[in-house]
């Protein structure tokens, strides 16, 4: 394992975090930012930093981190380099929950209804996927995940189709694109605990995932409790990614890309990718969020859209690369 990888990623995150506080429609000087963070007396700069940019920064770190971590765990668990949280239906489940909240107007009466419904949706979909795949192995888990994911996506499309007015449809579309703008400390407090608990569960799977690289039978013979590892991975993903998707909307590709960016540096060990992939995921989301604020082409580009536009070509490269190395 390359011992500069983790310190390097942490330095990168610190640099990005600093930039994230300074950057935006109004650029603040480092001195003013620092003063705003230390000095409790409220002025405009202090308000922008503490109430707008800081929660946004914390949320970006949490959401990016859990997406990267969960992607790394799922790729190890499913022994598939193309696995990502969305594959198990967590993201579509969270989206469906959130869409229901918006569609029926709960979101209008109670601000946190959208993330709460999103979280419930994520937990329900992964619960159903787990029930469906209870007796089978990895393949039946993937198939069950794809099935519930498709059903949840169908529900989202149906809601868009039946939207009572163009505003509801617009609101649903905007939410689905994924964004970190207008998020407050309330969102951090709502999602944070779930993301942290989910991350703790996911981090416990490292040793088991390493052994799982040899296949299910060998991993079991090495004393690994595979069903325990699977439960930790799935519920960790449901809690963490479910909560993340619930507050930010669907952000794809990070869970897919982050583990691959670091895999070569840790000798391809599935367990070794967990922490670097977490940091890489956080860095990707943070960098993308800064980019959406700094690069302006007319209307603002949503974070999820930005990540997809960058991520999709990477995905294509990955498919070609995997085919080349396997063939």
């Amino acid at each position: 394992m390359n011992r500069w990888l983790v310190p390097g990623l942490i330095l990168l995150l610190l640099a990005l975090s600093g930039t994230s506080l300074l950057a935006g429609t109004i650029w603040l000087s480092p001195g003013r930012t620092l003063a705003a963070l230390l000095d409790p007396s409220p002025d405009l700069a202090q308000l922008v930093i503490v109430e707008v940019r800081l929660p946004r920064l914390v949320l970006a770190l949490l959401v990016g981190g859990i997406l990267g971590l969960s992607g790394a765990v799922l790729q190890g668990l499913l022994r598939n380099p193309l696995a990502e949280p969305g594959l198990l239906g967590v993201s579509s489940g969270a989206s469906l929950g959130a869409v229901i909240a918006i569609y029926y107007g709960f979101a209008a009466t109670f601000a946190l209804a959208t993330p709460l419904f999103g979280l419930a949706g994520a937990l329900v979909t992964i619960g159903v996927a787990l029930l469906l795949s209870r007796s089978g192995g990895t393949l039946s888990l993937i198939l069950a995940g794809v099935a519930v994911s498709t059903i949840a996506s169908a529900g989202v499309t149906l809601a868009l189709n039946l939207a009572p007015n163009p505003f509801a449809a617009y609101e649903i579309m905007t939410w689905l694109m994924g964004s970190l703008s207008d998020r407050s400390w309330d969102h951090v407090l709502l999602a944070g605990p779930f993301i942290l608990v989910g991350a703790a569960m996911l981090l416990c799977t490292g040793r088991g995932l390493d052994a799982h690289a040899l296949g299910e039978r060998q991993a079991e013979s090495l004393g690994v409790d595979l069903s325990g590892v699977r439960l930790l991975a799935l519920f960790g993903t449901a809690l963490g990614v479910g909560a993340a998707t619930a507050v930010t909307g669907a952000i794809g590709f990070v869970g897919l890309i982050a583990p691959h960016l670091v895999r070569g540096f840790v000798g391809h060990r599935p367990g070794g990718t967990l922490i670097p992939a977490t940091l890489a995921g956080a860095a990707i989301i943070l960098a993308a969020d800064i980019a959406t604020r700094v690069l302006r082409f007319g209307p603002d580009i949503k974070l999820g859209v930005f990540v997809s536009v960058i991520g999709a070509p990477f995905f294509l490269w990955l498919v070609l690369h995997v085919r080349r190395t396997v063939a």
Binding site: R79, C204, G206, R207, D210, A211, A213, L214, G215, R217, Q218, E220, S221, L222, G223, V224, D225, R263, G267, H268, R269, P270, T325
Partner: protein, 255 residues
């Protein structure tokens, strides 16, 4: 001294009985080969003996202790298991793959304790893998991967080694090499149980032979008492002739 004792074990899969009242003992320092036609229940017997498949009825004892009373980790420290055609999914280095054999000995978090590094070096050396230690396991030939897997299985010094078809897909030279290494492990005091289709190879390395058919153990005992014309003919439903020479036995089948 009995090492593993399978006592009256029956395993059912759905309505089919895949292992029917099997009773057999495997001793330390002995190499037992399990033979029989496809679907005879060889792999099931191996899985039961390895503690990977709980017996429907009956019990399996390891040195007098029931396997079901041992924790996963405790069991993993004492017995190693290699399935048929093992694979490595990611481009992990050979050294790392061998280190995975120590999973049960490691703490839940953190790196490899220094004391175990010596064991890994020893295992790499024993299986002629020192030059390959940094090679990704996905870029190995069949014979090299077989050696890596044996090194992985034996790095923790197990008292019991169970291997399912170690020579499947290997050319004669590498098959013989793998078989010789298993023989060496048994001579070193390990109880080795191997499922094999290659009867000539079985005759060459086995102390004991267990002959299985339709989930039942048809015969077991010393190799020369089981590898005989009538038992093999009956086992494979095809006329078999065993000719013994100075350097082992050759088994011919006549349709």
């Amino acid at each position: 001294m009995t090492m593993v004792s399978v006592e009256d074990v029956t395993v059912r899969r759905g309505r089919r009985t895949v292992l029917d009242a099997a009773s057999v003992q495997f001793g330390a320092g002995r190499l037992a080969v399990v033979i029989g036609p496809n679907g005879a229940g060889k792999s099931t017997l191996l899985d039961v003996a390895a503690g990977l498949l709980p017996p429907g009825t009956g019990r399996v004892l390891l040195d007098g202790q029931s396997l079901s009373s041992l924790s996963r980790r405790e069991l993993a420290k004492r017995r190693a298991y290699l399935p048929q055609s093992p694979q490595v999914d990611w481009a992990i280095s050979v050294e790392r793959v061998v280190a995975l054999g120590l999973t049960a000995h490691l703490p839940a978090f953190g790196g490899l304790p220094a004391t175990w590094r010596e064991r890994i070096d020893l295992a790499l050396d024993r299986f002629d893998l020192v030059d390959l230690r940094d090679r990704p396991a996905t870029q190995l030939s069949g014979g090299e991967l077989a050696r890596v897997m044996l090194a992985r299985a034996t790095v923790g010094d197990p008292a019991l080694l169970i291997v399912d078809e170690p020579t499947a897909g290997l050319d004669p030279r590498h098959a013989l090499d793998a078989a010789r290494r298993l023989r060496t492990l048994a001579d070193g005091g390990c109880a080795v149980i191997v499922a094999l289709h290659d009867l000539d190879l079985a005759a060459r390395i086995a102390d004991d032979v267990v002959a299985m058919k339709n989930g039942r153990i048809e015969a077991h005992g010393l190799a020369e008492t089981v590898l005989t014309d009538p038992i093999l003919s009956d086992l494979y439903d095809i006329e078999a002739r065993v000719s013994r020479t100075a350097d082992g036995a050759t088994i011919r089948f006549h349709a």
